[in-house]
Amino acid sequence: MARAVTPRRKSLNTALAWAVGLLIFFPILWTILTSFKTEAQAIASPPLFLNFNWTLENYAIVQERSDYMRFLWNSVIIAGGSTVLGVIIAVPAAWAMAFVPSKRTKDILLWMLSTKMLPAVGVLYPIYLLFIRLGLLDTRGGLVVVLMLINLPIIVWMLYTYFREIPGEILEAARMDGATLKEEILHILTPMAVPGIASTVLLNFILAWNEAFWTLNLTAVDAAPLTAFIASYSSPEGLFFAKLSAASTMAIAPILILGWFSQKQLVRGLTFGAVK
C-alpha cells in the first residue's frame, strides 16, 4: 500500500482517480440535484448545474401522493428480515462445508448457486398460485422467505469462503484443549468470522433492498416496499424529471447512506474467496 512515489505521480493519480470517481457518481449526483429543481428548471437548456432556486416542492408532492414512511418501513423489514433469516440458516451450512468438507461439498455449493438461475418471470404463476394457497400474498413474511431463498446461495458461498480462510490449526488446537463444538463456534470461529459475516449481511441487505420483481408482483398495500413506491413515478403526464428525481432520491437514499457508512466493512469482506 504505502509504496513511496513522487509527489508528482501522486498528484496525477489523485486527479485521475477523482475524475473517474466523479464521472461514475455523476448520474446519482445529477438525480439528487434535479430533485431540488422546479420541473421547468429540470429541463432547462443549457442544463442548470447549481445556479437554480433550490426548492423542496417535489418532495412535498411525492410525500402527499404516497406515504413514504410506510414503504420505507416495509423495505427495512423485508430486506432486514430476509438477511437475518438467511444468515441464521447459512452459517451452520457454510461452517460444515468449510470445516468438514467431503467430496461432494463443492458440488453442493455449485448446485446451490445454480438455483439462482431460475428465471423469475417463468415461475411467477406457480409462485403466485402458491402464495394465494398459503395466504402469503401481500405479507412481509412471504417476501422475507422468498428473498431469503433467492439470496441464500450467495450468503452460503460468501460465508464459506470466509470460514475457509480461518486456519484449521486453530480449531485443532482448541479441540485438543477439549473445546466442544458449541464453544468452538461461539468463541473461536465467530469472532474471527465477524468481518466476513458483516460484509455478507451488508451485501445481502443491498441485494434484497433492490430486488424489484418479486417485491412488486407479490405485494399490494400492506407489504409494498420502495420498489413499488418508485413504480408509480415512472412516467406521469407532462414534465416529471424533478418529481422522478425526488422519488428516486427517496428510494435510494437510505441504502446509499447505509452503504457509505459501512463501506469499509463491505469492501474488506467482499472477496468471495478471490484472495487466498
Binding site: 473517474v20 461514475i24 445529477w30 440458516i89 462445508m97 441464500l152 415512472s234
Partner: protein
Amino acid sequence: MATQHSRSVARLMMAPAVILLLGWMLVPLTMTLYFSFKKYLPLRGGDLGWVGLDNYIRFVSSSSFWPAVQATLVIVGGVLVITVVLGILLAMLLDQPMWGQGVVRILVIAPFFVMPTVSALVWKNMFMDPVNGLLAHLWRFFGAEPISWLSEASMTSIIMIVSWQWLPFATLILLTAIQSLDSEQLEAAEMDGAPPLKRFYHIILPHLSRAITIVILIQTIFLLSIFAEIFVTTGGAFGTRTLTYLIFQRVLESQNVGLGSAGGVYAIILANIVAIFLMRIVGKNLDA
C-alpha cells in the same frame, strides 16, 4: 481428519439450507414443468388439457427465439467484458497512493446501491432522452446531432446502464485482490527494469485470474436474469428482447402460461449450460 461423528453433525448443519433450496428449486420447477406440458391460457379459462411437447416445439420454432438467445448472450458478454476490463483498470488506479482515497472509493461504489428500476429510469429519462437528456445537451454543445440512444443504439445503451451498475462490484473484488498482491514482488520486477506492460501481463494478471473468474461467475448469475433495465427502457423493442424478456411477454403479455413455462424450462437449461461451463473454470480455479 473429520470423524464419523463430525460428518453427521456437518450433514445436520447443512440440512436446513439444502432442504430449503431444494424445495425452492423443486416446487416451482415441478409446477413449471407441469404447466409446460399443458395448454394453459388464463384468459381463455385456464387449463385446457395436455398438449405434450407442443409448447416446447412452438417456443423454439418461434421467429423470436434465436434472436432472444443472441440478445441475452450479447448483453451478458458485453457487460462482462466492460466491467472486467474497466474494473481491472479502476482497481489498479485505486490501488495507487493518492489523496482522498476513501472518498473516491465511495464515489466509485455508489452505483451498486441504486435499485435497477431507479437506475434505468434515471438513465432513460435524464440522460438518454433525445430532447431533454443530458447527453443530448452534451452532443448539441459539441455541435453534433443528439443520438436517440434507446432506439438507435439500444443494445449499447442497455449494456452501458447495466455495466454502470455492476462496475463497482467488479472493481471492489478486483481491488481486494490487487491489494493482496505482494508489493515486493512488483518492486523487484520494477527494479529489474521490466516494462509496465510486461509487469501487468506476468505478475498482475495471473494474480487476478481467480478474482476475475469469480466476478464473471457471480455477475453472469445476475445478468442472465436482468429484467427491470429492459422493461423500463425499451420494453424489449429494438432487438433487446432477451430470453427472460421473451418469457415475460409470453406469460404476462400474451397470457400463455404453458408456452411461457416451456420457455422457462429452456432458460433453466441455458442457464445451466452456462453455469456448468463457468463452474468448470471456477472449480479449477478454486482448487488451484
